[in-house]
């Protein structure tokens, strides 16, 4: 049990790191992208740049929530 806990803790620390909001921001934008691909927007040339802008915006929001400028 201790090993299983340590195993999952290791991978949580590895993947999520010390700010879970960044991982959440990335996953939310990629889920939105996945939805767009599923509904048939995958061939649109604009989709990748729009998703990149989305990741940038989500990162900015997560950073400002985590550490408001003081």
């Amino acid at each position: 049990m201790k090993f299983v806990k340590a195993f999952f803790r290791f991978w949580y620390e590895f993947v999520i790191g010390d700010d879970w909001k960044i991982a959440a921001a990335v996953v939310i934008v990629l889920l939105a992208g996945a939805l767009a691909v599923i509904v048939g927007a995958g061939g649109t040339a604009l989709l990748p740049p729009l998703l990149a802008i989305g990741v940038g915006a989500a990162f900015t929001i997560s950073l400002l929530i985590d550490t408001p400028p003081r």
Binding site: F10, E13, F14, V15, I16, G17, D18, D19, I22, A23, A25, V26, V27, L30, G33, A34, V37, I38, G42, G43, A45, L47, P48, P49, L51, A52, V55, G56, F59, T60, L63, D66, T67, P69, R70
Partner: protein, 262 residues
């Protein structure tokens, strides 16, 4: 692949790996200096063996089972998260919102923890030293594996990425062994900022391309401009990070001015 691109790939992989190795080295040195070298080195060696096994299994799975788009989505997402974590720290450090990473301070913290820890022995090893050395080497090593996979596959030249990473491990390891002290002269904060930008750019490129797995046929999405889009992403992440640094700095300066006029 032109020689310029080969050198670019080699440099990017070398720098990214070197930063990871410096961090692992600081922990192993702290364990070796305070609790003896045997357990620290056995922990490091065991981590390298585990890492080789992890790389072999991951590599086999990637080559034999995973379609390219699934590989891009999984590795790209991980890389994007790592890159943004590094970028977040770099932005906060550049603007004075977080203390600059100092290998000396990290070394002191690790040696204090090592001195305070109990000396439990298992398998004739100092277990604390073994576990901490193992964990640090394996954790940083797995990041290196993902970096090598992404940079290497993206450039279509995995061997160059592997050689560059191995060179970084040997050079940084040798420098650490000679100095027997943390490598404080390595401009780690600047390098981490650069590596964060690279990881975020490659991660965005790959993760978005990988969403193509959900298309009928499963082929990767295509960026306008192909691979050149990575440069645009690099520029975009750089500009955004500078804008955020400026925003945080302005807030810090405003606070300082407010304090001075009181």
């Amino acid at each position: 692949m032109g020689s310029g691109a080969v050198w670019g790939l080699a440099m990017a992989t070398f720098v990214a790996t070197a930063v990871e190795v410096v961090e692992a080295l600081t922990v192993v040195l702290a364990m070796g200096v305070t609790r003896g070298w045997r357990s620290a080195l056995v922990g490091t060696g065991a981590a390298l063996v585990a890492l080789a096994g992890f790389t072999a299994v991951t590599g086999y799975a990637l080559v034999t089972w995973l379609p390219r788009s699934v590989l891009q989505l999984t590795v790209g997402t991980l890389l994007l998260i790592f890159g943004l974590q590094w970028l977040r720290k770099a932005i906060l450090r550049s603007s004075g919102h977080k203390a600059i990473h100092d290998e000396d301070a990290a070394f002191r913290k690790q040696t204090e923890a090592a001195r305070a820890a109990s000396s439990q022995r298992r398998l004739a090893l100092d277990w604390f030293s073994f576990v901490i050395s193992f964990k640090a080497t394996f954790l940083e090593g797995v990041e290196v594996v993902f970096i090598v996979i992404t940079f290497g596959l993206n450039a279509g030249n995995v061997p160059v990425a592997v050689i560059a990473a191995a060179a970084a491990v040997v050079i940084v390891g040798a420098a650490g062994a000679l100095a027997r002290a943390p490598l404080t002269r390595v401009p780690e904060n600047t390098l981490k900022y650069g590596v964060g930008l690279m990881l975020a750019s490659f991660g965005t490129f790959w993760a978005v391309e990988g969403l193509g797995v959900l298309r009928a046929g499963g082929e990767s999405l295509t960026w306008p401009g192909g691979d050149a889009a990575i440069l645009a992403l690099l520029a975009g992440w750089f500009l955004l990070s500078r804008a955020l640094v400026a925003r945080y700095r302005k807030a810090t300066e405003g606070l300082a001015t407010e304090g001075a006029t009181r």
